[in-house]
């Protein structure tokens, strides 16, 4: 103590300003004293002077803010999935334009294919009468490309038409009379007709209705669904036929469920067939989306926001690091403390236990346990707890060994002799006088140990044996890189997580290194 005072006084004398030209005052008043830093403050000062350690500290603060505050600020949740609408285009139905004459034969009459061929020849020559094998035929044009073919005596033998009637209702069978009346009505533009004593209505698109029942439609186009489960509604057909007539390439249609889809009409010249493709907007998980304004780092394979997952993953990684290190140090300090202080057979026993645990290869054990938990399908939350306990329990021997060594050397020092001489209780001697002297070493080893633990956890999660979905951890985020396509194409999935991981572990090591230098000034030259 006297040394210190003398030094203070000397320094005070040196710093006194010569201009005052006074006798230096040798007093011990507080205002005259030069501040002497406490050991703790000295350590802090040395630590804050170390630039590299400061860099580490800044990185650490950033990581903590990123993980713990970032998760709160982020507008998304850790397991919130995002969707995008994707238009799926599938072939919906086809339409064929009828270019050939089709024929209907009147009951009990002969309108064979040879007569039909003769009729086609006549239409090509632009005449309305033809004869074949001595029989004269008359074609009575009703409308465009619709003829009623009669014998010269006026007997109807058949119909030739290009606008086709297609039944919508399979139970409805169109007979000759119906066809004749329907086609006539279509050709002359009438909106209703009667056939077989029933009255039918016909709209401008050629849909034939019996009351409110749709029986079929008359059109130049034959429409057929291409998908088995599709029923083409009347409205749809109307719209399709209208589009075909006007030559539109696409049209919108709202189905009875109210879903509007876009339909594209494609014409295949080779097969002379129109194919109608339905492009339906469907919602899919927004997987592997590139970085954008909404998702700064894109989305992962489950369509979750990458940045938010990184934040929550940081939480998991850091919390696991701290808890594991706490468990390891807690057991380690107690075992090492007891072993170092008591010595003798207690020391012998504990050190052999440490030796045994030291020999247990931790990585393989963790892999085996992870695989076993996989087989048991352990709940992810429970699994995380197990992981922490196992990691902590596997790493205490190192701490115990270190603490024991330190305590062995401290035990021989004078202040411990003094505690013994003053008769302080054993527990107090250990925990009040010995352990605080070990704490600097403990802090250094713990801060480096956390880095190691985080890597260990990340490695396990990377192998799929650590923290499991739906929890995020930096390790299981990078896990996606096992998929070579992700490795090659989606840098934003795995590089940010890796950089964060590297940064955090590096920061813990830098800080630990800086703390060691700060605690142990002997290393300075």
């Amino acid at each position: 103590m006297s040394d210190e005072i003398r030094k203070d006084v000397q320094e005070a004398a040196e710093t006194a300003e010569p201009a005052e030209n006074k006798e230096p005052q040798y007093s011990l008043n507080d205002d005259r004293r030069v501040k002497v830093l406490s050991p703790g403050a000295m350590v802090a000062k040395r630590f804050f002077r170390n630039r590299i350690a400061m860099v580490g500290l800044v990185i650490l603060i950033f990581m903590f803010a990123f993980s713990f505050i970032g998760g709160i600020i982020s507008p998304y949740k850790q397991d919130q999935r995002f969707y995008r609408t994707d238009s799926l285009s599938k072939e919906y139905c086809s339409a064929i334009e009828n270019k050939e004459f089709r024929y209907a034969q009147a009951p009990d009459q002969d309108f064979s294919s040879i007569i039909q061929a003769q009729m086609v020849l006549a239409t090509q020559q632009g005449v309305t009468e033809f004869s074949f094998k001595g029989v004269d035929y008359v074609m009575e044009p009703v409308g465009d490309d619709f003829y009623i073919v009669k014998l010269a005596n006026g007997t109807e033998i058949g119909l030739a038409f290009k606008n086709v009637f297609s039944e919508s209702d399979p139970s409805f069978k169109a007979d000759y009379e119906f066809l004749r009346e329907a086609l006539t009505a279509d050709a002359t533009g009438e909106s209703s007709f009667t056939a077989n004593g029933e009255s039918y209505s016909l709209d401008e698109n050629g849909i034939v209705m019996q009351g409110s029942r749709e029986v079929g439609y008359i059109s130049r186009y034959v429409v057929q669904p291409l998908m088995s489960d599709v029923f083409l509604t009347r409205d749809f057909k109307e719209q399709l036929l209208e589009a075909l007539e006007t030559g539109d390439n696409d049209f919108f249609f709202k189905d009875p469920d109210g879903v509007e889809s876009e339909y594209k009409i494609e014409y295949n010249a080779a097969s002379q067939k129109y194919t109608i493709k339905q492009s339906r907007e469907s919602q899919v998980y927004d997987t592997y989306a590139s970085p954008s304004k909404e998702h700064w780092l894109g989305t992962d394979r489950n369509g979750m926001d990458m940045l938010t997952r990184l934040m929550y993953g940081g939480r998991v990684s850091l919390i696991i690091g701290f808890i594991v290190e706490f468990i390891a140090n807690f057991i380690g300090v107690i075992m090492g403390g007891i072993s170092g202080y008591f010595g003798g057979w207690v020391d012998m026993l504990i050190m052999r236990i440490v030796d045994i645990f030291y020999c247990i290869p931790s990585t393989p054990i963790l892999i085996i346990l992870g695989a076993a938990m996989d087989a048991q399908m352990v709940d992810p939350t429970v699994r995380m707890v197990y992981l922490m306990l196992i990691l902590g329990f596997l790493s205490w021997p190192g701490v115990a060994r270190m603490i024991r060594g330190q305590i062995l050397s401290l035990r021989e020092q004078e202040f411990m002799v003094a505690t013994e001489a003053t008769g302080i209780k054993v527990s107090r001697r250990i925990f009040r006088h010995l352990v605080p002297n070990v704490i600097p070493l403990l802090i250094v080893s713990a801060s480096m140990g956390i880095g190691g633990t985080i890597i260990m956890e990340a490695t396990l999660s990377f192998l799929g044996l650590g923290v499991k979905f739906p929890f995020a951890s930096w390790g299981n985020i990078i896990n996606d890189v096992n998929n070579t396509f992700v490795l090659t194409n989606y840098w934003f999935i795995w590089i940010p997580a890796g950089v964060l991981l590297l940064g955090t572990v590096l920061a813990f090591n830098l800080v630990g290194d800086g703390l060691r230098d700060a605690f142990d000034p002997r290393m300075k030259r």
Binding site: P364, T459, G475, T488, N509
Partner: protein
């Protein structure tokens, strides 16, 4: 000395006994998913026995119907005779699979260690002699970065850069596509080519530790009294560093390197798995994930023996290299 080694060896055997006891108990307490899988498959077959009956039969077949302690002593008895049983996943004797894979791992370990030493030791010494200079800071940070690098991340980066972007190496495996068509020299070169990335990964990951160790010990030596004496004598800095300081730094270095020699056989579990290199690490990873008890037991015991051997070698070397240390 002889007495000391003998005593240590005996102690190691006792430790090994308890280590294997713990590992065996642990593995036996776990669900034996491998057997369950097989039993499930067998019981699925038409006209087969029930799942329980298959489990019973298979358990008896794989020696799992005994109590843990009985099973353990039986295992030890077999082990002492060098019989580790048949691997379940590989369906050949464990030692045979071990023989097939160990040498590749050993070669990888040897290459890694060679480069690790020739890179890390000089850098550590430079860093220590120029303490608090820019060089020192750079080397220290690089060393720490090496320690902090997660193996799988670094490996992925290497793959992206050298395999995907540059296309110099294959992503996985030990041999290329046209391996069978190559002559023996070509085959050798093909394997060597495939080992480049794994070895680089291992070297970069492991350099940091040795570098820091060298630096710390060099600093300790440089701060000692005899170095001050050497400087006071007026020796050149060169002579001080390389003649007086370096030789003394060699003591802990030789000790730690000697101690890590058995580790050459342990294989690089993570790295081999990442690159699908068929070494002991990858083989045991597949076995462990597949619930292969005999192989897992063998590998874990093997690792424990290596650790014990490493400690023993380090302690003996310490006494041999440093004449100031006398074993009592």
């Amino acid at each position: 000395m002889k007495k000391y080694i003998l005593k240590r060896l005996l102690l190691s055997i006792v430790i090994l006994f308890f280590v294997t006891l713990i590992i065996y108990t642990l593995i036996r307490c776990l669900p034996t998913s491998y057997i369950e899988n097989i039993a499930r498959q067998k019981s699925m077959q038409p006209g087969s026995k029930s799942f329980e009956e298959w489990m019973e039969q298979l358990s008896a077949m794989y020696n799992l119907d005994t109590g843990i302690l009985t099973g353990f002593f039986r295992w030890w008895g077999q082990m002492l005779r060098g019989n580790f049983g048949d691997s379940w996943v590989y369906t050949i004797p464990v030692t045979e699979e071990f023989n097939k894979t160990i040498w590749l791992s050993f070669v990888m370990g040897l290459i890694t260690m060679f480069f690790e030493i020739i890179i890390a030791v000089p850098l550590g010494i430079i860093s220590a002699t120029k303490q608090y200079s820019k060089t020192d800071y750079t080397i220290s940070v690089i060393a720490l970065a090496g320690i902090s690098l997660p193996t799988f991340f670094f490996a992925s980066l290497l793959k992206l850069l050298f395999s995907v972007k540059l296309g110099w190496f294959d992503l996985f495996g030990l041999v290329g596509r046209n391996y069978e068509q190559l002559d023996s020299f070509g085959q050798f070169m093909d394997k060597a080519h495939h080992l480049v990335l794994p070895c680089v990964t291992l070297i970069v990951i492991s350099i940091g530790g040795l570098m820091r160790y060298t630096r710390t010990n060099m600093l300790e030596v440089l701060n000692s009294d005899y170095i001050r004496t050497a400087r006071a004598k007026g020796l050149s800095e060169r002579k001080v560093v390389f003649h007086h300081a370096f030789r003394n730094t060699l003591i802990p270095l030789v000790t730690i390197i000697g101690g890590s020699l058995p580790g050459l056989f342990s294989g690089a579990l993570i790295t081999e798995t990442l690159y699908a290199i068929p070494g002991i690490g990858y083989a045991s990873y597949k076995a462990m994930v597949g619930g292969d008890i005999p192989f897992s037991m063998f590998y874990l015991t093997f690792l424990a023996i290596l650790t014990l051997l490493g400690n023993l070698i380090a302690d003996i070397l310490y006494a041999v290299v440093d004449p100031r240390v006398r074993i009592s």
